[in-house]
Amino acid sequence: MSDKIFDVDHVTLRFGGVVSLNDVTLHQERGEILAVIGPNGAGKTSLFNSLTGVYQPQEGTITFQGRDAKPMSVIGKKPHRVSTAGVARTFQASRMFSALTAFENIKIGAESHRGIGVIGAMLRGPATRRDERTSDERTVELLDFVGLRAKGNVISSSLSYGDRRRLEIARGLATSPQVLLLDEPAAGTNPSEKLELTTLIRKVRDEMGVSILLIEHDMKLVMSLAERLYVLNFGSVIAQGTPEEIRANDKVIEAYLGSTATETGDRS
């Protein structure tokens, strides 16, 4: 029996008359690096937002199955609830807490799942201090993990693009997720940063056992990283399979290069 971490079943998402996701069915195995590709406006980010509770699809079901936990229906849950259940994400245009340092950014992720405790915070008792210390240690661990230890005190808005991506990944990991959703992590990074990022993402899966779901435009990165892919076009899944299968799929080539390309392809 397969162990699905995400099970998306016939999901349709509309904004007024615009259909953003049309009867999408897909799933992710636990521990898998899965990629969703597709041209601009295909509904990739809408899918992410539906998986994290930002958007509420009108039809279908999305089930998140945490380890040792009851399956959870994502639709109707608030984003912070989905995060608490074990889904972390990054954003397409990276969204840092830009006036805070890298250290603080991660620490906010590391401590957000604990209770609020105003009284504890105002009295600063031993329990609060212990909590602080635990979060501090975890934060430093993660800074190390993504290779930003030397930049812990840098205000996040003055980090380079690649560093910001890594910081965002670390902040997501700080919430101890089971699956990490990466929205175009390589956008705006240079080739060497791209390579480092690929290594980092694989390391996240291998060392932390976190499943990866990734949206990406950079075909080279996707093909080298993903174990399985889904292709979205106009809100529908048009293909799925291993990188090799996708590369050979006519529908995918058509979606990416236009119908004339396929016609020429057919003739030759």
Binding site: F97, I116, M122
Partner: protein, 447 residues
């Protein structure tokens, strides 16, 4: 025309004249129904003098004042950077001293000593009363509003409502209202503190839970409405609140513990010490809160709510919490005011009051505890000074003209406030010197 103003000197000169003309009108005599233009013409024509030396008309004085301002301004723009450089250099040593632990504690102790000695240094009864009613209480209110506006970034225009709730609760608990006190017992004022805090906090939660889902502007309007509702309730529920007459039979704070009997209120000084104790408690509490998980979560929500949600922070919960904390602080301030003045009436709980507190927070520096305290002290002392020794032609209602002008000037030259929130800068500065907690963590020698 446009080309003339392209010249910076012309532009500065014109701005100086414009600013001084506005100032001239602001400080001029009021008009009247009989001669509506008297305020305008009088502002320019009325007799004035240069420090009593040359008798002339106001416009001449202001004309020369504008020239002086232009000269100072131009000089500052040319030489200011150098002056600032020298000042920064001279201040760098004492500044570094304040960043060490003993230095900081030294400052705290000195400030505390000053606060405790103040009533002995200032013995004028007017100022002693002002220190309690108009300064300490306002510091408390500004601290509370700072949690809402500065930490959580929520615009609250109905802050006075919670203050009123606190004040009326005191009157109710001590049996000063037409309605019966709880269980028919006239409680001591000290019992009013937890009850007022709880009621104000409850009101904050009830108001906040449904409305804090709204974004900025809408929230401001809802809180504005709530402030008005409470004032109108106080005014119209005659049988409960005493209507527009309010009440004037609220007792003073008093202490009866075994052989110790003490009654506050014969002079303002005991009240001053009582308030100072509470101000310090709130100050410490909020400072710790700012640097706690809660403070960081507020910052995260303020910076980027979507990202904050994505790491598991429930924005609504934290916003309601900020709202409740602010409300309970205002409720507490209400207890102090009501007990100290013995009187409350609805007309003192107006929108203008909410705005006054907001001005203190914005002027001092949103989110900066030091700034807010300083802002409250500076503005309230200033307005009390104007009340105590008014310059010629000054009327009490003119105060808001000056506060408004002050805010305009602040927003242009120092938009982050008198002492901007320097939390981030300081933390980084400390870490670089090897004193911040970040460094303790990185080097593994946590205390």
């Amino acid at each position: 025309m446009k080309r003339i103003f392209a010249n910076v000197h012309v532009k500065r000169l014109f701005s100086a004249f414009a600013a001084l003309a506005v100032l001239e009108l602001m400080t001029g005599p009021p008009g009247s129904a009989l001669s509506p233009t008297a305020g305008f013409t009088g502002s320019f024509r009325e007799a004035a003098s240069f420090f009593g030396l040359f008798r002339t008309q106001r416009w001449v004085v202001f004309f020369f004042l504008a020239l002086v301002i232009f000269a100072v301004w131009s000089t500052w723009l040319t030489w200011g950077e150098r002056v600032r450089g020298v000042a920064v250099k001279a201040l760098s040593v004492p500044r570094a001293a304040t960043h060490t632990r003993p230095g900081r504690w030294g400052i705290y102790v000195a400030l505390l000593a000053l606060a405790l000695l103040l009533p002995h240094l200032i013995t004028d009864p007017f100022w002693q009363a002002a220190m309690v009613e108009q300064i300490s209480v306002y510091v408390l209110l500004a601290l509370g509003l700072n949690v809402v506006v500065g930490f959580a970034g929520l615009l609250d225009l109905g802050f006075v409502a919670f203050y009123a709730i606190g004040a009326y609760t005191t009157a109710w608990v001590t049996g000063a209202l037409p309605t019966a006190a709880p269980f028919g017992i006239h409680f001591n004022n000290f019992y009013a503190i937890p009850i007022a805090i709880a009621l104000a906090m409850g009101a904050g939660i009830i108001l906040g839970a449904p409305t804090l889902r709204l974004r900025g502007d809408y929230l401001a309007i809802v809180t504005l409405g709530f402030g008005e509702i409470i004032t109108i309730f106080a005014n119209n529920l005659y049988g409960i609140t005493g209507g527009s007459q309010g009440t004037n039979t609220i007792p003073h704070f008093s202490l009866h513990v075994g052989p110790i009997k003490y009654l506050w209120g014969l002079t303002p000084v005991p009240y001053y010490y009582l308030t100072i104790v509470f101000v310090i408690l709130f100050l410490i509490g909020f400072k710790l809160l700012e640097h706690s998980r809660v403070g960081r979560a507020w910052t995260a929500i303020r910076e980027d709510e979507v990202a904050a949600e994505s790491v598991g922070i429930n924005p609504l919960k934290y916003k309601v919490m900020a709202f409740a904390i602010g409300a309970s602080t205002a409720g507490f301030a209400g207890v102090v005011t009501a007990s100290q003045s013995n009187t409350i009436f609805p007309s003192s709980f107006t929108l203008q009051f909410s705005i006054n507190i907001l001005v203190l927070v914005i002027f001092g520096g949103m989110g900066s505890i030091t700034g807010v305290v300083l802002g409250a002290i500076v503005i309230q002392t200033g307005s009390m000074y104007l009340l105590h020794t008014p310059p010629s032609g000054y009327q009490p209602q003119d105060l808001y003209i000056y506060l408004g002008a002050l805010l305009v000037v602040m927003m242009i030259f120092r938009p982050a406030g008198l002492v901007p929130s320097r939390r981030r800068h300081r933390e980084i500065g400390l870490a670089e010197k090897g004193e911040g907690h970040m460094n303790e963590v990185l080097t593994g020698d946590t205390p």
